[in-house]
Symmetry: C2
Subunit: 564 residues, 2 copies
């Protein structure tokens, strides 16, 4: 621990002296403009933002000490060459840099870096153009700062929703690029965002700029010409039509990784299906989960369920209606009897299923009759359309928007289940089956109980599997509550790994632990990831430790997370 000099940040980048840092900052200001460089000097500056106004310096849902996952400075480049120069500068100074787009990655770490004292490179502030919306071929080309809301508003403003829809996550404030490269999910038929991306422009750790897929082929007929800046060259006309291009298909290595900074990305839009109907099906009993899942599997694999549907536990819906206090005076996990009571009060099931039908009426009719018949096998199942629900904060009415690609903020309400509500996502993958769902629910619920926390979660059903999203809500001003949440997620990771379940994405605090569970054949995959990392980023400056991948310049043990 060195004593602080004036101008020092709260946490210096590792191995960086005060002078070096000051030098670096003045060089960074020369590149990006002083107004785009913010230094975190004191812990007073670590003010938790809100989802609507996220902070850009630390994890606003901190599960460790607020000043642990913290950057030394947040720097916001204005364009692609500045991103490239920043990468070169970080290499020159050996300073780690953590890129993010918007910083709304709550539950997974927000804007915060894995290595304390890293530079946070905020891409979304100045690089936020919608570069193209092509309704004929149904795609958009965006920069990192474009949120789902931005793109949706663009469609509305230009009257384009008659032609194309977007796919949105539960909340619409995230970056399209940030969410996609984290392999986030939405709920229309286009819910697998990475599958639906097409064509990237990426700054590599050494500052080089590539375009992937067909983007690598300069297209004179699109206006590509000598003399233009590479990032300003018009793209190949098939860049956002065909993903793979020629030779190795590299896009995947830029997802959940620390191998590049994505500065442009194409995303496929869904053609307006010519008809739409959202619905909810409620199931009265906790144990209905088993039967319901076995009904879902064949319907989803056959695409009778056309979209990414969700099966939500009662508390996930209840928490949208009100906080825990509004339902109970208990400070313990709610009992089955209490949950039944809440379900009854809200006229919901213990499990509630949200889906939608897409297409002209005869197609919707045909699908609905199959779906209705299948789920009617569950005693007490009830079927609703949005107009059947009149309560304030009706989840069905919100889902009816989400499932047609209209972003909302409503789901944010469940984060406030507890006072000073913060959350961590625990999100294991499982087979779509009654046995797996029930076992995974039991295993996770048991540990929630032990931690004294309520189980709030849902199953998000993909093409052949489901993402089980367990929302660990805690009180961020209560050290005990934070400790429990941290204990809970660490315990769940190990419990689930013993059952062969792994997570699809995670928070900074447990990246190493989860990476450690994907250890087939003596960690062969991690060795491969490290080889690639070291080749592309020999100094290890780009997001060291992201998802457990440490460059050889870091001693991974020394950076282990304190767990006390």
């Amino acid at each position: 621990v060195t004593s602080r000099s004036s101008g020092d940040p709260l946490v210096l980048p590792p191995g960086t002296s005060s002078e070096q840092f000051a030098d670096f900052i003045s060089r960074a200001k020369a590149i990006c403009g002083a107004e785009n460089v913010f230094i975190v000097e004191t812990s007073d500056q670590l003010i938790d933002g809100t989802y609507k106004e996220p902070n850009k310096t630390h994890d606003m849902h901190a599960v460790l000490d607020r000043s642990y996952f913290v950057c030394s400075a947040t720097i916001s480049p204005r364009n692609v060459p500045e991103v490239q120069e920043m990468m070169r500068l970080c290499n020159e100074f050996d300073i780690p840099v953590w890129p993010f787009s918007i910083g709304r990655n709550t539950g997974y770490g927000g804007a915060a870096p894995r290595v304390p004292g890293s530079i946070c490179l905020e891409l979304g502030k100045n690089m936020n153009r919608i570069l193209e919306v092509n309704t004929e071929d149904a795609y958009a080309l965006v920069e990192p700062g474009v949120t789902y809301f931005d793109l949706h508003e663009y469609l509305e403003k230009h009257n384009l929703r008659e032609k194309v829809w977007i796919d949105v996550p539960d909340l619409g404030g995230g970056s399209i690029i940030g969410n996609t490269i984290e392999r986030g999910v939405g709920y229309t038929p286009y819910g697998d965002h990475f599958m639906m991306h097409c064509g990237m422009e990426v700054v590599l750790p050494n500052g080089e700029l590539i375009r992937t897929g067909m983007g690598a082929l300069p297209d004179k007929t699109s206006g590509h010409r000598d003399g233009l800046r590479p990032d300003e060259q018009p793209g190949n006309k098939a860049w956002h039509l065909f993903n793979y291009g020629f030779g190795p298909y590299n896009d995947g290595i830029f997802t959940q990784s620390n191998l590049g900074i994505v500065v442009k990305m194409g995303i496929w839009l869904m053609p307006n299906p010519g008809g739409y109907q959202a619905y909810m099906i409620t199931f009265p009993r906790d144990e209905d989960l088993h039967q319901v899942m076995d009904i879902i599997r064949p319907l989803r694999i056959q695409m009778v369920l056309q979209n990414v549907p969700t099966l939500r536990s009662i508390l996930m819906d209840a928490a949208v209606h009100g906080n825990k206090k509004s339902f109970s005076n208990s400070d313990k996990p709610l009992t089955d009897a209490e949950l039944d009571e809440i379900a009854k009060k809200l006229d919901l099931g213990r499990w509630n299923f949200y889906g939608a039908l897409y297409g002209p009426e005869p197609i919707r009719e045909a699908l609905w009759s199959i779906i209705k018949k299948a789920f009617s096998a569950v005693p007490g199942a009830k079927f609703y359309f949005p107009e059947d629900r009149h309560e304030e904060y009706s989840v069905l009415r919100t889902r009816a928007l989400t499932l047609q690609g209209i972003p909302t903020f409503d789901e944010l309400r469940w984060v406030d289940w507890l006072p000073n509500g913060a959350h961590l996502f625990f999100s294991p993958i499982a087979k779509i089956s009654g046995d797996d769902a029930t076992l995974q629910y039991q295993v996770t619920k048991k540990r929630c109980d032990e931690a004294g926390l309520d189980f709030i979660g849902d199953f998000v059903v993909g093409m052949r599997e489901m993402h089980h999203i367990v929302c660990i809500v805690f009180d961020r001003e209560d050290p005990e509550s934070k400790k429990k949440a941290h204990w809970l997620i660490r315990t769940l990771i190990d419990d689930c790994a013993a059952y062969g379940w792994g997570e699809y994405r995670t928070h900074l605090a447990v990246m190493d632990q989860i990476a450690g569970t994907y250890n087939f054949n003596d960690n062969a995959q991690m060795k491969l990831n490290e080889q690639i990392k070291n080749a592309l980023d020999p100094k290890g400056v780009l997001a060291p430790g992201k998802n457990g991948v440490w460059p050889s310049t870091y001693n991974k043990k020394a950076w282990a997370i304190p767990t006390d």
Copy 2:
């Protein structure tokens, strides 16, 4: 040029002495068994196979001299550890190795290696088990030697087609793994084979074994236990359900690449859709191409066209009915008048469109009425179901099988359009549009004319683009014909690059040229590919030069293809 010693192959691996080669071979025999090592000693042994009996030593549709793309020996490992040992051996001896599964990659080089004298590693001969067919979750797990025919026959034998279908290319004799990692295409809704793969087991250039995606998480509940050989460990139960796993998603870098040998792969099967109807629509005039394409685009993007449909030029169909001689005595490219004549004679259009409807009757009806109405806008369009066509070799009757995943050999017939028929595929990507299709057709047809070859081709319509497949048929016993074919493909590559079009896959002879067209920002993508290649394969032994990616141990210029 060294003088040959006894035991020498026709072409020694580069930089390898006779003794070293002999040593290597005896070590290889010890690993794989003498019966699995075949040395190419004389050019007499280079007997062109047929599609049904492909050779494993050279390109049986050679466009250069038959002895150019030739291996020194073909070695067929019996299991994964032998593949690993062979990789270690090749590293030890600095000998290049070219893996293939079946060797039916005709039009793209067959079994032949890019570097003459490489070892051909034939994976399919001994490693050909169908390891799992899971009808509940709709996937299969296969080894390299499993062909589309094999898997289809397995489904038939076990009466599983009621539950699941496979997706097949035009011909069913290829390897599921080989085709998928070359990013080949089929024609059902599951036609994008790479998109529909899920989970790989890969031997890296250094001999290490990884499993990708969820496969990296050992699953005790599936039987994973200490002491078992890694490749024999039962896989994670979500390995073939969820592609991405955790952290960087690496599968794409093992496609069209030289970074690994895929020894197991999961592939999603299509649930039996509960109803099926294939159809053909014929369009009378050459210039209908324009209008037809603009009709196809919105229907395909909206998935009203549910599968990967094809629009075939008259000669692609005619050549299935008979060879050129059977239609004409001309040895020049057929004229428009002659083509019209042929179309009339066969009761086909100048362009013929093949698609299918999937699902229960009401869904098929709804879709068919939209499709029929849309294409009826083309004057003279005619609509057919398979039962409407009674001629021998009806392409529609064959497509009616292909489009429901039943493999055939029928399409092979067009390769015999000329005597000693051989072929090269030229396959650029384009936007689905009348303008692009027409221009690409004109540009390619003009050069076919100049080469004195008939235009035989089709447009294979993907999600947002089309693969235009130009089948360059030549006479492999006629040096002039070969020269023309080679000139034609080289010229087309440059012509198309000038229009911004690039190819999705190619023959050994033009890999460097095509890679050179994907040169955005001073070949930034190739530099990245080379960096990764050099990191994972420092000696550059695995398939050097594949798709233009040369390791630093090779002087790429010295390996340029002779073009005279």
